[in-house]
Each structure stands twice: as structure tokens, then as C-alpha cells.
């Protein structure tokens, strides 16, 4: 047994030597702790190291301070503090490293490839015709117009006679009509245009009227790329005092710019409809080529959309309004044409009635 190890002998050591011994032991402990911390592979090992170094070994060394001379105590105390800071620091640094590594491992286990793992969520799609229909309604609502839907099956009065198409009128022949087996022969029909809504509105409410009337219309036609027995139209009607042809044309300009963009303008060419006079064809400068000419406008720079005009005095008389007191305008055009143009849809058959989900989900 070594003499140094006996308490008696220790007490016999020189006081300064005792202090140096404590300092050396602390320094060694700190160095060992650093080494162990840096090689610890788990948080558990690190926690055990912390307990043995700080709680046991260092506490043990601290007990020796009481035997150190007053003159050396400060020196020893500083050295012990430094050793503790060193040991704790090493453990903490390692603890952060291990925690980071552990978190990374967890994350790696949880990794998902999101690039193609959506559940194929499918929102439904409004029909392209409905989307335009709504857009048209919204524009006119913005202009202060009401929206009115009339019946799709009509009587001869609303579809023809009140609109100044008397029986036998040649313009009736322009609209091949589907009749229903109801009422007297050729009394009940599928409306050939949305214009009967004008009559229904004027019959049901006094002027002023600012209204737009989208709807489904019918003709005795065979389905092909450009025709359909059933299609969609929208009609606008204004009845007020002092309404002019200039108002009609300016209003259509405003409407077309809202629908097609600020750069377009409306074009008016005289035409004929029994229920308006003066009557005009309604065209818009091609919004796709800025009038330079393209496939959509058949190189004309213009797209013909529909018709318009000042409400004919006979129409006012048919609904009991005095044409000297009231004036008004009406315009109408096909709705289906707009998605066909905008989306460059090849045929009316693709747009209407086919209902292939691969088509509908494009809009």
C-alpha cells in the first residue's frame, strides 16, 4: 500500500501540495468527461455520464476543499468551477448533437414522397356554358339589370305574335319551330328564342325595365358541328323614357368590353327582326387578333354574335304600353358561341350534350 493513500500521511502533506492535487484531479476529471461525452452514442449514456461526473466525482473532489489552506482556497475553487463548466459544456454540446441526430432519424423514418401521392382529389366542374352564363348575369347585374328566366315551352302569342310576327309572316319561316302536342295545333311550342321573355317581363311589371334573360332555346334542327336542336341564348331588354339607338349601341360597347376586354368594340350593321326597328346585326371586333384577322374570325376581324334594335312600337302595343311614352332597346345572342370561341372548342357537339368527363374537367 502506498503511503500517500493513508489519511494520516495526507494530512501530513504540505498545504500547497494538497491544493495542487485537487486541481490536478479536477482537471483530469474534466478531460475524462469531455472524452466520454464526445464518444457517448445515446442520450442515456450521456445522462449517466453527467450523473457520475457532476454528482459523484466532482462532488467528491469538492469535499477536499475544506483541507486546503485559506490562501489556496480561491485558486482551488476557481479550478473546480472551470472543470465543472468544461464537463457540463461537453455534455451539453453532445446532448444537442445526439438530439439532432435522433430527430433527423425520426424525420427520415416519417418521410413521404408528396410529389404524386395526392388522393386524386377531384373538384367538380361547372359546365363551360354555365360559367359563361353566370359571367353574363354578373356583368348585367353590375349594370343594375335584373335577371329573368321565362318558361322554355311557350305559346304562339309570346314567342311570335306579340313580338310582331303575325301568322304567315315570312320571318316565322326563318325559325324552324318545334311544336308540342298541347292546346290547339301550333299553339304551344318550344321557344325559338329568348325574346318571349321580353313580353312576359313587360306584361308582368311596369317600366322602367332593365333586364337580362338567359335561357335555353329550341329549333327544329339536326345536330351537327354548328347546329343543335337545343341551344342557349341571352336577351337584354331596356324600357324607359327617352331610350335611343345611341343608348343601345353604347350599352353594348360597355358590355362587350366587360366580356371580352377593354380593347374590343361593337359593330352594328342594319338588319331585320320583326320585334325591333331599327334593327341591327351585332358584331364584336375579334378579341383574339385585334382585328388583324385570324382563324376564329375567318380573317374578317369581326365576329357576328347576334342581333339588336329598338323595341318595335307594335311590341309595346301588344303589351299595353304607349310607344309614344316609352322607348326601349333589346339585344340577344347565343351563349354557346362564347365558350366555343374562347376555348377554341372544335364543335357544338363537343360542347353540348356529349358530357365526356375528360372534356368537362378541363374547365
Amino acid at each position: 500500500m502506498n503511503q500517500h493513500d493513508t489519511p494520516n500521511e495526507r494530512s501530513e502533506q504540505a498545504p500547497s501540495a494538497r491544493a495542487d492535487d485537487l486541481i490536478a484531479r479536477a482537471t483530469t476529471l474534466a478531460g475524462d468527461a469531455e472524452l466520454s461525452a464526445n464518444t457517448a452514442t445515446t442520450l442515456d449514456v450521456l445522462n449517466e455520464l453527467e450523473r457520475s461526473v457532476i454528482k459523484h466525482s466532482l462532488a467528491d473532489i469538492k469535499k477536499g476543499i475544506k483541507d486546503v489552506d485559506g490562501a489556496d482556497r480561491a485558486r482551488v475553487g476557481q479550478a473546480l468551477s472551470a472543470a465543472e463548466v468544461r464537463a457540463r459544456g461537453a455534455i451539453e454540446v453532445r446532448r444537442i448533437d445526439l438530439a439532432t441526430a435522433e430527430r433527423e432519424a425520426v424525420v427520415e423514418r416519417e418521410r413521404l414522397d408528396l410529389s404524386a401521392q395526392g388522393r386524386g382529389y377531384q373538384r367538380g366542374h361547372l359546365h363551360p356554358v354555365t360559367q359563361v352564363w353566370r359571367e353574363l348575369e354578373d356583368i348585367f347585374c353590375g349594370l343594375g339589370y335584373q335577371v329573368f328566366y321565362g318558361p322554355e315551352a311557350e305559346d304562339d302569342w309570346h314567342n311570335f305574335e306579340a313580338l310582331n310576327f303575325p301568322p304567315g309572316h315570312p320571318a316565322r319561316a326563318m325559325q324552324d319551330t318545334l311544336y308540342l302536342e298541347l292546346g290547339a295545333p301550333e299553339q304551344v311550342l318550344l321557344r325559338t328564342h329568348t325574346s318571349p321573355c321580353q313580353i312576359r317581363l313587360m306584361e308582368s311589371q311596369p317600366p322602367p325595365i332593365y333586364a337580362v334573360m338567359p335561357g335555353r332555346t329550341f329549333r327544329r334542327d339536326t345536330m351537327d358541328a354548328r347546329h343543335s336542336p337545343v341551344f342557349h341564348q341571352i336577351e337584354a331588354l331596356v324600357v324607359d323614357r327617352n331610350i335611343t339607338m345611341g343608348d343601345l349601341m353604347g350599352t353594348i360597347d360597355v358590355f362587350f368590353r366587360a366580356l371580352f376586354g377593354e380593347e374590343v368594340e361593337a359593330r352594328f350593321l342594319p338588319s331585320y327582326f320583326p320585334f325591333t326597328e331599327p334593327s341591327s346585326e351585332l358584331g364584336v371586333s375579334c378579341p383574339f387578333c385585334a382585328r388583324k384577322g385570324c382563324r376564329t374570325c375567318s380573317n374578317t376581324g369581326w365576329i357576328e354574335l347576334g342581333g339588336c334594335g329598338m323595341v318595335d312600337p307594335n311590341v309595346f302595343r301588344a303589351v299595353g304600353l304607349d310607344p309614344e311614352e316609352w322607348s326601349g332597346f333589346a339585344f340577344g345572342f347565343g351563349i354557346d358561341r362564347i365558350p366555343l370561341l374562347r376555348n377554341e372548342i372544335d364543335t357544338l357537339q363537343t360542347l353540348l350534350w356529349d358530357n365526356d368527363v375528360r372534356f368537362l374537367s378541363q374547365f
Binding site: 347585374c141 319561316a173 318545334l178 302536342e181 327544329r220 331585320y272 329598338m310 358530357n355
Partner: protein, 796 residues
């Protein structure tokens, strides 16, 4: 209507470029559909004289023609039967181009080289005649371009004439508008008297129905039948009509030029040298020019011979019997004015339309009738050696005057939004043949009788607009009155909510034809009792109005399946039709919404794809109910045609039946070619929208903790879970915050015909934490209520 520029120039000296003329026509309301320039399609074709015709050594039907084309002589091979030495014909040189981009090359025909080709009218784009080589005028300069000889360097405006402008169905009417537009002189010269002779016997004309035939003019001429001269044929061809014979061509020429339809009868075949204009007798019939025997009705007007035998359907088509042909030597030219509505009616009933009827039914000029006959006589003198009887028979008991129309300049400006002076207004309309009297702001306009559309002041306003130019009217905006709100009605908004809810639920909007076949309805189990039929359908597939959206949607589903699209979710929001209620004659229209869904919901790769089941249809209905905020909705098991007998329910709103939801009948699904389950729903949107909606008032939200209790009951299989939920709600009272069914199962341990229903209940008070005693009381109360109401027992 095809208007050749050269013909228009007969009446007004148009010199503007054709693009400018086209623009003017459009601005005048004579819409230009197309512009043809036939000469531009031909080059290298010249006049050549046939020197000799020799047989082909190896063929019977083709011959060899030696020709002189001015600057040289060549031999060509020709198959036409009509060539002979001395003829001047169109010769297409090697390198020439004919319409259709047909290039002429040197080629061997049966061993003989042909140095070009002689042309038929059709090969030059001049009508359909391909029966022989076109004969040019014998005096034509050899080597001269046929475009110059035939006047092919012309521009033809193809016009779409609106029904109010019969005058513009004649070259003269178009020219008049153009002359006014360009400020040019305009004149229709009086017809030359032609050649007349006293010796030609008289004819008689009796008009029995002057209302239907207000005017009838007859002139008689002796003629020599033959072909028309080239210039006349050329004009007809350019205007889109086929030359037939000199006499027929003359009548067509006058019709095209003046909108004055004429008919030429072979007088030798009119018994009694006379005309009777009468209505048909019931059961009568006659054969028209086209060889069709036409049954007649008592309001059809006929032109008959003196012994009352029908010879023409007035204003529509002549009869076979008195048709002119090569043997004709004497003709009666009919020029008449028929009441437009009568012509329209007969034409529609017979389904027979002609160039003449199209003009008569719109209204020709009653006062141009005699001048038209005179013009024909003058032309017959030129092209058919016509010698006319001096006498003109003109039956016109009640001459039709020009209409006098009071015009207020103030009114014109009020309608157009212009500020025109009366003098300007008059100067705009006078070049159209409208005369005016008076110099005040209010004046009288007299409309020419060739413009039947001019009857009222507003008609004159339209003429002013047309002449002033719509593009010159200042554009202003009509604003809705201050204080009015432009918005959708609540019904229109709700309609959008329904569609949006379904879009959110994954359904895409389809549109199916509202015209269906009766068999389509029966096939999918739709009741046809109140179906509305189309009286004149084009196809049986479009012969009834749909009373349900399901046939269309199921058809769309089948089409998608056939195209390899198995996963389909479609809805439609649209009108359905039922026979009228009570004494109404219009059908009852309802807006329905229906949906169909098939295939699976994609959840792979993380889970297996989920097959669509009836829950998806229920979710869609719930989405609609929720979007509309309906307060009282319940589902009741029901059997309904077309639906699975045990997997369908009727939907009630406020105890009113509004539709069906469920799984589509399996047999029906099989016929659609769909391999998956198909679910769907159909609801009456109008009824949904009249349903009571949830109390819109705010309900405070509790901040206290809830008590969650699960309860499972064993009940008879036919007890509706929804009824148990209602019982639980009643028992739980206001403390029951929510309840939902989270599990159901059947097992032998539960006993046959029994089912376990497990509910999750959540209790919560608005103002406190519920005590254990309170919770226990609610718990036992709920159990007791269900056990007594549904013969249930709590499952341990």
C-alpha cells in the same frame, strides 16, 4: 341573292373598288356573305376557231379538232358531240388554269397528243352545263382571252337579303341602295316597245279572286325557241341560275333584275286562249314543272286556262302541261301581283319553294307588274325574235296607292339619339324613291310600292338610320335608374348554391338533351303518364320532353363507360316537363337536379381505391341540403322504379316528397355497360327552394367541456337509424350537442333480423360544466327513450 357588279352598273355608274362596295352593302343592311370573282380562277383560255374535225384513229366517241387560236394552229382531242368546223370555242392552252385549280397539260389521249382542251360551260365555272363545248360568238377575235369575251372579270356579291326587303331580291333594288349610298345617279330605263303586230289573236283573263290576285297582266308574243345569247346566259349564270331556253331565260332575267317574277305559258296549250285565276277545289291536283303531282287545297290559288284546267300554282310553280319547250311558237307572259300571305300559306303547305314564291311571299311591287311584262316583251324581241300582240291585258280593279306616312323629325331624333334637321332627314330618304311633301319638321313621306316594309313612321326612322349610317350615331349608355339594385333573385342564387355544392362534392355539371325518346324513359324507370310530346319531331329520339334528368345522365354515364372513363360523377340542373295542370295549356316546368356517380374514388397508393357506394349519393344530397340550409329533411326507405329495391330512399322536405336518392337498380346498370355500382339522386329544386330554412339566428357556443358517450342498441333491422337519432335528440334535449351513427352491424349473436346501431353522443351545457349526476341522468334518459320507442335493447 347574287348581284354581279356589271349588272348593277346597268343602273348606276358604280366605280368604287369592290371591297368598298361590299362595305357599303353591309352598312345598308344588304349583308355580303361572300364575294366571287370567277375570272380570277381562269387563265390561259382564249377564243379559237375550229378549222377541221377528224375522227380519232382508235376511238369512236372522241374526235380530233384542228384549231386556229390567232397566233398559231394546234390539234386537240375532244369528246364533245357538238363540235364542228367553223365554231368559235374556248381553248385552254397547255399551262392554262381552270376553276378548281385545274392545270392543263399536254397529254396523250388514246395515243394521240392533245395540245390543250376545248371547254364546256361547266369547265369554265359557268353553271352546270357539261353537254358540249361552249359556243362563243362567231365574230370573237381569235386568241382573245375568254374572260374578256364572256365578261368573267366580274365581281359577284352574294347577299343575304332580310325578309323585309323583297326589292333587294332584284338587281335594281340593290343598285338603288348603292346609288343612294354613293350619291350616284340611278335610272331604270323604260322598256323598248319591241316588235308588235296587230294580227296576233286576243286572249281573255278572268280573275275570280281579286283579293288573292289584285293584279294580273298578260301579254302575248310569237317566239322562235332556242338558246339565249351568251351575254344573257352569262348574267344568269353569274347570278346563280341555269340557262334553259331563251323564253324561260327572259322570265328569269326579269325576275332577277327587277324582283318581278313572270311565267311564260305555251299559249298553244292553254285551252280557249285564256286565263282564269281561281282557287282550287278540294281534292283537285295538278302536275308541276318538276314532274310532281301536287294535291291542292281550297285556299290554293291557281292559274287556269279558259276551260278552268289548272296550269300553274299561282306565284309558286308552273304546270307541266303548258310548259314552254322547243315546239312552242306563241307564249303568254303572265306578270301578276299575288297577296303575299296566300303564297306563303300554299308554299308552306306544299313544302314547295321557288325563286318566284320567295319573292311573292315577301311582297313584290304591284305597280311594277306591267313594266315587267313590257321589259320581257322587249327582251323577247331581241333574243327570241319575239313579235308581240299590241294589246296588253291588265286586270287591276283596285290600284294599290303609295303609302303616305307622317314623319316627325323630332321623333326620328328621339329614337336614334341624333340631332338631324328635317332637310337632312328628307335628303337621306329621297334617293330611296321615297317622296316627301312639306318643309316643316313634320312632313309626309310617300313610300314606293316596291318597299312593302315602309308602312309606319318607325319604318322611315329605320331608313334614316340605314342611310345616316349606324356607325355615325353617337354611342351613349342607358343606366338603370338610381336606387335600383341589379341582383339575382333568391331563387337564382339558390340555384347557383345547389350547383356549387355539387361541384364541391366532386360532381361535374353535364347538359343532356331535354328532348328524349319515350323508350329512354321507360328504360330507366321513369313514369310516362304525364309526358309531353313534340308534335313535329325530326327524330323519334327527340320526340318527347323529358320528365326526368335521369335518362340523359345515365346515357352520359354509359357513353363515358364505353369510352373507358369508369370514374364518373355528373350532375345536371335543368328543366323537366309535365303535362299541364288543370286547364293550363302550357306544360308544367320544374327545375330538377340529379346526379349519378360510378367507379371509385382514388385513394391509392396510400390506401386502396374506394369503390363508390350509396354514401356518396347521400353526401351529395347532404351537400345540397346544407348549401340551402334546409331545416326539415328526412329520408325514408322506398322502392322506386329504376332504383335498387332495398337501397333507395325518398327525400322529404317539410314532409313533402322532393325526390329519390340511392343505388341504381343493378339490372339497369348492367344495360348501361357500367361495371361498378352506380349511385345517384334526383330532386325537385323548386320544391327544395320552397322548404323551410334553418333559423338564421346566431346560437352561442359553449366554452365548457363536453361529455362524450357512445351507445349501441340492438334493434329490428327495419328500424330506421334516422328515427333513433330523432329519439335521441328528443331525449337529450338542448344538452345534446351532437349525435351521429358511427357503426352498424348484423350478426347471428344479435338474433336474426336484428341490427346493432352505435351512436356517438356529445353532451354539453352552454353555461356550466355538466355534473356527473346530470350526465348519468341524460345517459339513462336516452337509453330508456330508445328502448321504449324502438323496442331496442342496449348492447352490453
Amino acid at each position: 341573292m347574287r348581284a354581279p357588279l356589271s349588272w348593277l352598273r346597268d343602273f348606276t355608274p358604280l366605280d368604287a373598288p369592290s371591297q368598298e362596295i361590299a362595305e357599303a352593302l353591309n352598312q345598308l343592311g344588304l349583308e355580303v356573305d361572300d364575294i366571287h370573282e370567277p375570272g380570277k380562277e381562269i387563265s390561259g383560255v382564249v377564243a379559237a376557231r375550229i378549222l377541221d374535225v377528224v375522227p380519232h384513229p382508235d376511238a369512236d366517241k372522241i374526235r380530233l379538232a384542228d384549231i386556229d387560236f390567232g397566233s398559231g394552229q394546234l390539234r386537240v382531242v375532244c369528246g364533245a358531240p357538238n363540235i364542228e368546223a367553223g365554231m368559235v370555242v374556248p381553248f385552254a392552252k397547255v399551262g392554262a388554269v381552270l376553276p378548281g385549280d385545274f392545270k392543263i397539260t399536254k397529254r396523250k389521249i388514246r395515243g394521240v397528243v392533245s395540245e390543250g382542251m376545248l371547254c364546256s360551260p361547266r369547265e369554265l365555272g359557268l353553271g352546270d352545263d357539261h353537254g358540249g363545248i361552249l359556243a362563243l360568238d362567231d365574230n370573237s377575235e381569235l386568241g382573245r382571252d375568254v374572260r374578256e369575251i364572256l365578261g368573267l372579270n366580274d365581281t359577284v356579291f352574294e347577299l343575304s337579303i332580310t325578309p323585309n326587303r323583297p326589292d333587294a331580291m332584284g338587281i335594281v333594288g340593290v343598285a338603288r341602295d348603292l346609288a343612294a349610298h354613293f350619291g350616284l345617279p340611278f335610272e331604270v330605263a323604260d322598256a323598248a316597245p319591241g316588235t308588235t303586230a296587230e294580227r296576233i289573236g286576243a286572249v281573255t283573263v278572268h280573275v275570280e279572286d281579286p283579293d288573292r290576285c289584285p293584279r294580273f297582266v298578260a301579254r302575248v308574243a310569237q317566239v322562235v325557241m332556242g338558246d339565249s345569247p351568251a351575254w344573257l346566259q352569262r348574267r344568269l349564270t353569274l347570278a346563280g341560275m341555269r340557262p334553259i331556253s331563251n323564253v324561260v331565260d327572259v322570265t328569269n332575267y326579269i325576275m332577277l333584275e327587277r324582283c318581278r317574277p313572270l311565267h311564260a305559258f305555251d299559249l298553244g296549250r292553254l285551252a280557249g286562249r285564256g286565263i282564269v285565276v281561281r282557287c282550287a277545289a278540294q281534292g283537285e291536283s295538278m302536275m308541276t314543272l318538276d314532274g310532281v303531282e301536287r294535291p291542292l287545297a281550297s285556299d290554293d290559288l291557281l292559274i287556269c286556262d279558259a276551260v278552268r284546267a289548272p296550269q300553274a300554282i299561282a306565284g309558286i310553280m308552273g304546270g307541266r302541261e303548258s310548259e314552254v319547250d322547243e315546239s312552242t311558237t306563241e307564249v303568254l307572259i303572265e306578270s301578276a301581283y299575288f297577296a303575299p300571305s296566300g303564297i306563303a300559306k300554299t308554299s308552306k303547305r306544299l313544302g314547295l319553294r321557288s325563286e318566284a314564291s320567295a319573292r311573292f311571299e315577301r311582297g313584290v311591287d304591284p305597280n311594277g307588274v306591267a313594266a315587267g311584262a313590257d321589259a320581257a316583251i322587249a327582251l323577247l324581241a331581241v333574243v327570241a325574235n319575239g313579235v308581240a300582240a299590241t294589246e296588253t291585258i291588265d286586270v287591276y280593279p283596285n290600284p294599290i296607292p303609295r303609302r303616305r306616312i307622317a314623319v316627325r323629325t323630332g321623333r326620328v331624333n328621339a329614337i336614334l339619339g341624333t340631332d338631324l334637321k328635317a332637310a337632312t332627314v328628307r335628303s337621306l330618304i329621297e334617293p330611296l324613291g321615297i317622296t316627301t311633301t312639306g318643309t316643316d319638321d313634320d312632313f309626309v313621306a310617300e313610300a314606293p310600292t316596291w318597299r312593302p316594309d315602309l308602312e309606319r313612321e318607325i319604318d322611315i326612322v329605320e331608313e334614316v338610320a340605314r342611310r345616316f349610317g349606324l356607325q355615325n350615331i353617337k354611342r351613349t349608355v342607358a343606366s338603370a335608374p338610381a336606387g335600383s339594385v341589379g341582383r339575382l333573385t333568391s331563387w337564382q342564387r339558390a340555384r347557383r348554391h345547389v350547383a356549387d355544392a355539387l361541384v364541391g362534392a366532386g360532381y361535374s355539371e353535364g347538359m343532356t338533351l331535354p328532348l328524349v325518346a319515350l323508350t329512354d324513359l321507360a328504360a330507366v324507370g321513369v313514369d310516362t303518364d304525364r309526358v309531353v310530346r313534340v308534335a313535329n319531331p325530326l327524330r323519334v329520339e327527340e320526340s318527347v320532353m323529358r320528365p326526368s334528368l335521369r335518362p340523359g345522365l345515365l346515357d352520359a354515364l354509359a357513353r363515358n363507360a364505353a369510352r373507358g372513363n369508369p370514374d364518373v360523377a355528373l350532375f345536371e340542373l335543368g328543366t323537366v316537363f309535365f303535362a299541364p295542370d288543370d286547364d293550363n295549356y302550357l306544360p308544367t316546368e320544374h327545375t330538377f337536379v340529379a346526379g349519378v356517380r360510378a367507379g371509385s374514388e382514388r385513394t391509392a397508393p396510400r390506401r386502396h381505391d374506394r369503390g363508390i357506394d350509396v354514401g356518396d349519393a347521400l353526401d351529395a344530397v347532404q351537400a345540397i341540403v346544407d348549401a340551402l340550409g334546409l331545416a326539415n329533411v328526412r329520408l325514408e326507405a322506398a322502392t322506386s322504379s329504376g332504383w335498387h329495391p332495398a337501397r333507395a330512399a325518398e327525400v322529404f322536405v317539410d314532409d313533402q316528397l322532393v325526390g329519390v336518392v340511392g343505388e341504381v337498380e343493378h339490372e339497369l346498370v348492367a344495360t348501361l355497360g357500367v361495371s361498378s355500382t352506380v349511385v345517384g339522386f334526383e330532386l325537385d329544386v323548386d320544391m327544395l327552394l320552397s322548404g323551410e330554412v334553418r333559423d338564421p339566428h346566431f346560437r352561442p357556443i359553449s366554452t365548457y367541456p363536453p361529455a362524450n358517450i357512445d351507445l349501441a342498441f340492438v334493434v329490428d333491422d327495419h328500424v330506421a337509424a334516422a328515427d333513433v337519432v330523432r329519439t335521441l335528440r328528443a331525449a337529450g334535449g338542448e344538452m345534446l350537442e351532437s349525435v351521429h351513427l358511427f357503426d352498424t352491424f348484423r350478426s347471428s349473436q344479435l338474433g336474426d333480423g336484428n341490427v346493432s346501431l352505435a351512436f356517438a353522443l356529445r353532451f354539453r351545457a352552454i353555461d356550466r360544466t355538466l355534473t356527473d349526476v346530470e350526465i348519468a341522468g341524460l345517459h339513462t334518459g336516452c337509453i330508456a327513450a330508445v328502448e321504449s320507442a324502438h323496442a331496442a335493447r342496449l348492447r352490453a
